[in-house]
């Protein structure tokens, strides 16, 4: 009996997002299906933090994938795909909120004006991850969208500040200061809630 050739380890390797994008750019549209499988759940979860209507979220995520496909030739495969995809989805969600007049159409955000010192501490995030998840689930909807998005991307999507900065097209320092303020706002709401209702 002839032995079948042993497959090389590389043939088992899962292609990276960027490899899949290269294949889509080369005309292999099925590879886009694999990307959809990888990001569908993440984007639906991200969208739920912005839009309440489930059917609406599904349509918006579909719209985000359509836009990603249409613009995929603009993606530089030497960069990471994840922030690029989130950025498209973020823009789709924000546009919907603007249509619903739940997102300020034009506002001057002073967080963007000057540099804010930022220190990203992964151990601190790990330590407070669970506590923040609970607070986010409970009070997120009470925060303004600009604080909501950084909390979700950092604590629920586990993105680094640099990636969040790329998703939101803002300086890294702005991500840091928004995240700090968002956490303070969440904690303040928790304390207020605790004082009013006790441990319920």
């Amino acid at each position: 009996m002839e032995d079948s050739p042993i497959p090389s380890p590389s043939s088992f390797a899962v292609p990276s997002d960027e490899t899949l994008v290269s294949r889509v750019q080369a005309g292999e549209s099925d590879a886009f299906g694999a990307l959809i499988e990888r990001y569908e759940g993440k984007l639906l979860r991200y969208g739920r933090k912005f839009v309440s209507d489930q059917e609406d979220i599904r349509d918006l995520v579909q719209d985000a994938f359509i836009r990603a496909y249409q613009n995929i030739q603009s993606f530089d495969t030497s960069l990471r795909f994840s922030p690029w995809m989130y950025r498209i989805a973020h823009n789709v969600f924000v546009n919907r909120l603007k249509q619903q007049k739940r997102f300020p159409l034009t506002y001057i955000d002073f967080d963007l004006f000057v540099s804010h010192p930022v220190y990203e501490d992964p151990t601190e995030r790990e330590r407070e991850q669970e506590e923040m998840r609970v607070l986010i689930e409970q009070f997120l909807q009470e925060l303004s969208p600009k604080y909501r998005e950084v909390l979700v991307l950092n604590y629920l999507e586990n993105m680094a500040y640099k990636d969040i900065a790329d998703v939101l097209s803002v300086p890294i320092g702005t991500v840091g200061i928004r995240l700090r303020r968002a956490k303070e706002a969440l904690k303040a709401r928790y304390i207020k809630h605790h004082e009013r209702y006790g441990n319920t």
Partner: protein
């Protein structure tokens, strides 16, 4: 019979791709868009530098630099005569440029004020160099003095006008008569002039050497049609010689 609509999100998107309802934009579209944005940004940058150059030229050709040598009063007069509308126009274009630069990843990573500040400094510096180190403005300004100036010449005429009596300044002041420390002079620009009587402090170091035809710069206090000078300065340099 109608094909059933896919319920799965992935299948729905892939069905649209396969039926050519959606298609990828070609790479050339993004290249052209990037080139277009770059060209537009460079055009706005050059326009901003040109406007900054006019701010400097307006100050230079009217001799307002000299005001800064008169102490606090001169500084206030300098602020008064500063071409604010041109500067405001420049700030507007710098803001537009800043907005365009933020479309690039190196742009949005910088805080707004830093990016604006860097662009402002670079543009003002480039405008100053263009006005003070080259003869670009002077060449056009010379054309403004012709009997029938071109469109550009007419444009340059707007930068220079005699100071009105009551303004406390006689900038391009050509001496007509000298009687002791009282001068009559004309502030001239492109065929229009205003005649002034100027009383110079007797201890002014320039007074003994003055002669008819000299061009001087005067800041002073006006009363009853007479300009009581705080002091004299050499006249504005005017167009740079060839």
């Amino acid at each position: 019979m109608e094909t059933p609509k896919p319920t799965n999100l992935k299948d729905a998107v892939l069905a649209k791709i396969q039926s050519h309802d959606i298609s990828m934009r070609p790479r050339i579209f993004y290249t052209l868009r990037l080139v277009g944005l770059f060209i537009l940004s460079v055009a706005v940058l050059l326009l901003s530098i040109l406007i900054a150059n006019y701010v400097s030229f307006s100050i230079r050709i009217n001799g307002h630099d000299a005001l800064l040598s008169y102490g606090p009063q001169g500084f206030l007069a300098f602020l008064h005569f500063f071409p604010w509308p041109i500067l405001v126009l420049d700030v507007f274009f710098i803001a537009v440029l800043q907005h365009m630069v933020r479309k690039f990843s190196f742009g949005y990573r910088k805080p707004v004020l830093y990016l604006f500040g860097i662009l402002f400094l670079v543009i003002i510096a480039a405008g100053l160099v263009l006005d003070r180190e080259t003869r670009v403005n002077d060449s056009f300004y010379e054309g403004a003095g012709r009997a029938h100036p071109s469109f550009v010449g007419m444009f340059y005429r707007r930068f220079h006008a005699p100071h009105r009596p009551g303004s406390g300044v006689c900038a391009n002041c050509t001496i007509i008569t000298i009687k002791g420390n009282v001068l009559t002079a004309e502030d001239r620009a492109f065929g229009t002039s205003t005649s002034r009587t100027i009383v110079v402090p007797e201890n002014d170091p320039l007074l003994p050497s003055l002669k008819i035809g000299d061009i001087i710069f005067v800041l002073g206090r006006e009363a009853s049609g007479t300009l009581y000078a705080f002091g004299l300065r050499q006249g504005p340099p005017g167009p740079r010689p060839k």
